[in-house]
Amino acid sequence: MGTGLKVTLGSDLKLLDTAKLAFDDFMEAIAAGGEDFRYWCWVGIQEALANAIRHGNSGKPEIPVEFDIETTGRGIRFAITDRGKGVVLEDIPDPTAPENLLCPSGRGFLFIENAMDRVSTKGEPGSFTLIMEKDFGGK
């Protein structure tokens, strides 16, 4: 089992800065990954947290979002859990399709997919988790 950190946040976008500080502290503590690695990790985390707050928990501050970080043998695993119904990743429209290119929204998951090496989901009644893994030396 790797080194881990669990942060529970209220569903308030202002708390993204708190999550960023926790992430930065964790990365400093494990002394892993360069600036680019950390940047792309945060791209994925920030989008996933924003989705969990806005869509999963409908922006209700009293509903928690859980943010877990854990080192694995080859990288870092991030899990973001909200209390929403979740999404089927394959059903998310492609924001780069010509008909969607000028849409003002819908690019969050595209950024997550590009930032991370693997993305999966786990859903239970009343709980949805997005799991993102980034490998040291990955993309």
Partner: protein, 116 residues
């Protein structure tokens, strides 16, 4: 937090941006500022992004949204001095086909005259 400094060069407005354009932090500020400029009749705007440290999907969407508003009102929005990381973000979103991007302010300003 996004700081916006405005500079006028002839009929062109250059907005020097500093900070993040992200959800709840900068996206609304940029929208409000550009809507104000549009309301005042300005139609040629350059966003100098040299000191924009982070752009997320909401910020990206906001750039698209203000570009569309500008074009619908007969104006144009151009980007200046984007960092490599923001280039990467725009590349992922495949938005280089819709934005004009410059690395030199004088060239960006001159391009509006060429658009006439």
């Amino acid at each position: 937090m996004l700081e916006i400094q405005e500079k006028t060069v002839g009929t062109v407005i250059v907005l020097n941006l500093k900070g993040k354009i992200t959800i709840g932090s900068g996206d609304a500020a940029l929208r409000t500022y550009i809507e104000k400029l549009l309301g005042e009749g300005h139609q040629r705007i350059i966003l100098n992004m040299a000191r924009v440290s982070y752009l997320d999907s909401s910020g990206t969407g906001e750039l698209v949204s203000v570009l569309i508003k500008m074009r619908r009102s007969g104006g144009e929005l151009k980007l200046l001095n984007i960092s490599q990381k923001i280039k990467d973000i725009l590349q992922i979103a495949q938005l280089f086909s819709i934005f004009e991007v410059f690395t030199d302010e004088a060239e960006a300003i001159a391009s509006f005259l060429a658009d006439k």
